[in-house]
Amino acid sequence: MSVDSAEDIKKHVKVYIMVFVALMVLTVVTVGVAYLTLTVPVAITVALIIATIKSSLVANYFMHLAAEKSAIYWTLLVTAACFLVLMFVPLFAVLDSIGR
């Protein structure tokens, strides 16, 4: 972490509070959206988008990722790529199978 003065920390605290409020609002939205009758693919997409926004807020502000160095960024980018491969490629393999 770079040297943070008391002023900087106090600014961070303000940000933390704002992020907290945003997360609460988004939680309400998450639950509210579930009560709308959406088709399954749309419901999944919306839920994942909201979850991604919430997790970005936690990652960037609580975990200070927005201010982090490239060593961390690159590690996470590679991890994200592997995660997406793990999520989607087996799915495609199952969808593109003989007899489907």
């Binding site: 590679v78 490629v89 087996p90 199952v94 593109d96």
Partner: protein
Amino acid sequence: MDNVTTAGHAHAEHEHELGFWQKYFFSQDHKVIGIQYTVTALVFLLFGFFLMMIMRWQLAYPGQPIPVIGGLMGDANAPGGIMLPEFYNQLGAMHGTIMVFLGVVPLAVGGFGNFVVPLQIGAPDMAFPKLNMASYWVFLVGGLVMFASFFAPGGAANSGWTSYVPLSVIATQGQTWWLIGMTFLITSSLLGAINFIVTMVQLRAPGLTWMRLPFFVWTQLVTAFLLLLAFPPLEAAAFLQLMDRVAGTSFFLPSGLVVSGQALEVSGGGSALLWQHLFWFLAHPEVYVLILPAMGIVAEVIANNTRKPLWGYRPMVYSLVFLGFMSFIVWAHHMFLTGMGTMISAFFQTTTMIISIPSIIILSALFISLYGASIRFTTPMLFALAFLPMFGIGGLTGLPLGLAVSDIHLHDTLYVIGHFHYVVAPGTIFALFAGIYYWFPKATGRKMNDVLGRIHFWGSLVCMNGVFMPMMIQGLAGMNRRMYDGGIGYQHVQDVLHWNSFMSFSAWGLGLFQIFFIINFFMSIRRGEKTNNNPWEATTLEWETPSPPPHGNFLSPPEVHRGPYEYSVPGAATDFTPQGQRS
């Protein structure tokens, strides 16, 4: 061993305060931990080898009582000394598991990685010494659980090292032990991978930029990333299988499964292919974990014994990193026969063909490094040189397996076994032997005996080819793998059956030649020819410290001023210029 300087003094004092147990058993010193991993791994390698030697009796003489030790197997496994199919399956599954997870990886990464990497980057130790110690002990527990599984009711795991479902879900208790053992081993690898990456990123000596790293360090870095990101899905899969076996879930059990005429009383709805995807997502990067450190060792030994820089260092590094990325998207070439459609099969076939390119670049660069060289045929160099064509055969025989159409004929045949053994046995294990002969003087201050080393080498080389080349012939004829009777029941393989006894004798011969190595190893610890810091006249940093290095490694903090392979520099006084030498 003079280590009383300002830098080493504090550590020397600290070391004298440590009792016997803290110094030799519960040590946090990477060198001690590296030796612990090495010795433990070699013991497991030997045990895994024994399992195979027993299997090869059954394959050569199916239904014949095993001589001498047949009575020791117990009536549950081999009544009257005649091996039961169930026992053969245990031997097969555990041979694979032990060799891969308890032998090769702990030796290549835990042993060589731990001992050499901090020295080669000029660091006093690994970044997290306590974590390092924990990694070893977790590995040992996992290994002991695996070993103990032989004594479970019904014996050890017997569903292949791949533990395919649903067979493994309904298998005997040993499979549960296998899953628990794997959890420990995976945890140990993950903790180790974190330690390795932080060490290599953060603790490089001043002046040691990325492109001045010894190639061995690069291979360990990429290997650590493979372990970090590929192992966790297998851990998840192990939990799923454990729950299927113990908690009655059906993650891997499809609806309507019938076992021995009885419908299984489970909820069903599971997917057998899910296991294969999760398993191979790890297991393909795992095979690169098996080969990359070996390539690193071969690179070091070749550079040293050709007295010239490696040819193509930069392309080798880029190829290595590219290979690391690609290894995550080729796994389903192990699943071409599971009913995947043409599109997804074509995808995996393409990525598999592409991944052969970086391997070829690295192998070619090592070959080209020999051109115009003053080759010293030391014992490590013999093993390193043999690695090149042996890995070449292994790699080339992989191509028809990676192409979906030819794989239809070759999948699950002896051809596959021949292919991967060529890569791992006269490939990786030869490289590991090279590494042992090469770094033994650094760890002990004594050289291993050359005569014994050469006998070990030539005998192993001939016998290895005697075991694995005929497998290609049998595989092409269509002989299936994992058959306890060696194929005598199949019409189409009758012509190639005779190779079984030839292969078995080669395997037993291979075992005999390892005795030369074992004797050499232990004898040289006490009686080997004493050496100085740098008996091989090498350039990398580990040779600029005493043999064996003191606690804290370097007498004064090293600084790096040049690349890793500055051999035969024009105008220099000697034919090697150490990395850390000023001016």
